[in-house]
Amino acid sequence: MTSKNLIYDGTFDGFLSTIFYVFEHKLEKVTIQNEFSIQQGLFCENERIHTDEDKANRVWNGVKSKLSSKGSYQLYYAFLSEQNGIENLLLDYITYAFSNVKKVDKDFAHPSVLKIAQIAKSVGREKHRMEAFVRFRLTKDKIFFANIEPDFNVLPLIEKHFKRRYADQLWVIYDIKRGYGLFYDLENVEIITLDFPKNFDFTKTEDAFFAKQEFEFQKLWQDYFKATNIQSRKNMKLHIRHVPKRYWKYLSEKQPD
């Protein structure tokens, strides 16, 4: 029997529709890929899956009834990791959950369950890091603007946090790696895409775009960051473990003077 390779549009609903298809056709030898990362396998037949919100909801409700609430959000978190092959791991996990009477998301001795829990944990860590490392800069049009490049697609996970916290200011958080962002207009958060000028340097605060007081507060923050350090306790290994170098380029306190 040849195996089937199912291709979906990369969205969570698309993925859930694919799961629906797998169960509907009782497929056993099957792999799932999103349309941006198709790899042609030998002896395998490709099939495109149409995203269907109703089917997706049915699967999602099924998942929620078979897992604890933590288990179902771990599944969503793991999906957002965008890791290579994550769809197949999730399929294995969902199949195991549906074939069991007990809720399996705490069966940490099962390889897929443990793996999903671990991936969800890294995604959760990245979410938390973005809540910490976003640095807003005030633009000339009075918008607090931040750009990020997270390892995983965590924008959908941090929206609520920033909306609740910065309820009285206009803000944008833009994921430059994935080319989309969130814009809060004092009422709602919208998903936006922006065109930046050619050669726009996201690490620099240029006075053509940013408000004058922005430079002063960045300077004050840098001074504060230096003054609050205790030299005789210096421990760069620990420092880097907490603030890995890949995040430094957009942190105002880590910019060279």
Binding site: K102, V104, K106, D107, F108, A109, H110, L114, H128, E131, A132, F133, V134, R135, F136, R137, L138, F144, A146, H161, R164, R165, Y166, A167, D168, Q169, L186, Q213, E216, F217, K219, L220, W221, D223, Y224, F225, A227, T228, N229, I230, Q231, S232, R233, K234, N235, M236, K237, L238, H239, R241, H242, V243, L251, S252, E253
Partner: protein, 420 residues
């Protein structure tokens, strides 16, 4: 505000505040109201880390470093020849708001040297918090220092605007305090602590009956002790700590390894090492008390007055109590699992959950994240391979140390060579 003046003050007053360890910004449950600024409902967030590896979560500054006291261990003591500065109330408010809006911080931690009198100082701290809450509609985190000797009325007002209040007892014993800060008395520290404790209890009780009772210091109280400045042993330190947890309902006691800042001959001299490893062992003990169900007397007592530096306090306890082991991870109760060296509470919960599905073996435990290097001598699981030799404590300790490298390797050999 004038940028340059503020800049100068910020450098001085942040530098002076950095010896206060607390950076906690969680546990407050203060939600954003009326579309204001900020929210302190979630877990705390460390927005950055200094090069010494400490979390930067709050704007931690002194209102002023002018002080009428002359405590030997303190960098802002009256007799110290340093630059002095004082913020205006509005300056602190502006800095806090603008840092917060840029997502630099979770809120403000405001402390102060004592100028004129305790009440005069406390009043200004309360003014800052009040302005932030009432004029700026700020719902971020505010931690105020309780100034020893401040009036009950001011402490009550402080609790209405702040999330956390703290007063540092600094020196673990009264004898040490007498030696290093002769103008201060232990009871001056205790009085505001008692007041705040009682108010918290009362407000909580009222809230049960009248729902719109305001919050009072919802993130509770904390304190801090300096380690290694006045010659106390670990037993004395942890007894004091335990006393404060039990009698004043403290959320946290912080331990701060003394950073030499003075040539005063009552203190360790400038250039001597900060006791970071010892500080770490004290925190581990603190955790064992608060989360692992240990009584402080099991870890430190008349016969065992200092923590081992080369091994962690739980392992040390286990080696002194080999008769409690081995523990069967597939059947033991939670509180016994928590006593196995190498098992953190996260692993304990994972084991409790996972063993409902199947019996766990070494392979499972390793994948779950148990530190088997330490744990293997103290447990059995679903396997016939386990430690069958009748090993002595010394032998087990030797085997464990042989197979591990401490991140404190360097400081360990330094500190041990003192006795060697």
């Amino acid at each position: 505000m004038s940028f340059q003046r503020t800049q100068e003050k910020l450098k001085i007053l942040a530098d002076a505040a950095k010896y206060d360890v607390s950076c906690s910004s969680s546990g407050s449950q203060r939600a954003n109201t009326n579309k204001g600024l900020g929210d302190a409902t979630g877990m705390g967030i460390c927005h950055s880390y200094t090069e010494d590896g400490r979390c930067v979560s709050l704007l931690k500054i002194l209102l002023t470093n002018y002080c009428i006291f002359d405590c030997a261990y303190c960098v802002t003591r009256k007799s110290n020849d340093i630059k002095r500065a004082a913020f205006k109330v509005q300056e602190v408010v502006d800095l806090t708001i603008n840092f917060y809006r840029r997502n630099y911080i979770e809120g403000l931690f405001l402390s102060s040297g004592i100028f004129k009198s305790a009440d005069y100082t406390m009043e200004r701290l309360v003014d800052v918090a009040k302005k932030l809450r009432l004029e700026e509609n700020f719902n971020g985190y505010i931690h105020l220092k309780s100034i020893p000797g401040a009036s009950d009325e001011l402490m009550r007002e402080a609790g209405l605007y702040a999330d956390r209040l703290s007063v540092n007892i600094e020196i673990p014993t009264e004898a040490g305090l007498k030696k290093l800060a002769p103008d201060k008395k232990r009871e001056d520290f205790i009085k505001p602590m008692v007041k705040v404790k009682n108010e918290i209890i009362q407000y909580k009780a009222e809230k049960k009956i009248i729902k719109n009772t305001p919050k009072f210091a919802p993130a509770g109280q904390s304190t801090q002790m300096i380690i290694g400045a006045s010659g106390e042993n670990d037993f004395q330190i942890m007894q004091t700590s335990n006393h404060f947890y039990k009698n004043y309902n403290l959320k946290r006691v912080y331990y701060s390894g003394y950073v030499p800042i003075s040539y005063d001959n009552r203190l360790p001299q400038i250039g001597s090492a900060v006791p970071m490893l010892r500080e770490n062992r004290l925190y581990q003990t603190d955790w064992l008390m608060r989360f692992y169900g240990f009584d402080v007397s099991e870890i430190l007592n008349e016969h065992h007055q200092n923590l081992d530096l080369d091994i962690d306090p739980k392992l040390s306890w286990a080696l002194r109590n080999l008769h409690e082991f081995p523990i069967d991870v597939n059947t033991a109760e939670k509180h016994m699992l928590a006593r196995i060296p190498g098992l953190g509470m996260r692993s304990v919960y994972k084991i409790l959950n996972a063993r409902r599905f199947r019996k766990l073996n070494w392979e499972h435990l390793k994948k779950i994240g148990v530190a088997l290097n330490r744990a293997q001598y103290f447990m059995v699981c679903d396997s016939n391979q386990f430690e069958k030799r009748d090993l002595t404590s010394e032998k087990i300790k030797g085997l464990i140390l042989q197979n591990s490298t401490s991140k404190y390797g360097k400081s360990l050999s330094n500190q041990l060579s003192l006795f060697g």
